[in-house]
Symmetry: C2
Subunit: 87 residues, 2 copies
Amino acid sequence: MFVIMVYDAGERRNSKVLKVGRKYLHWVQNSVFEGELTEANYHKLKEEVRRKVDNEEDSVIFYKFRTMKYTEREVIGKNVDPNNFIL
Amino acid sequence: MFVIMVYDAGERRNSKVLKVGRKYLHWVQNSVFEGELTEANYHKLKEEVRRKVDNEEDSVIFYKFRTMKYTEREVIGKNVDPNNFIL
């Protein structure tokens, strides 16, 4: 599945969420990750994020897609192509 | 169509992009908007964003979906339900 993760976390927790995100997905913009994940890794990612954030203060949204067939992605300004990443 | 817009703009331009985003979409998180748009309004939104950002410094990503049938949205932490918004 394809996953987009966007987050907004307090300063101290921000770098922790960034670290978890980088483990599973490609960084594409400040506080935005995307990438292909197995169902198992998606659950692991959510578990790890859950342990890092403050539920009252922070917010993490996951958009999960079974297919990207109906999707287009357009960028204005700086473009980080996640396909160019070497993990 | 359904659109997710995520942006990262320099401080002075940030509030300008925020203002444009609010005009067309629902704010769901710091630097993240989503919502239904006509093709015409999607083009207007992109045009307005283009006029506000610095192409060398800022980045705005649009994910555009013809259908949300294959999509799930999950939130950890604070949740702003865009369906509760009154525009």
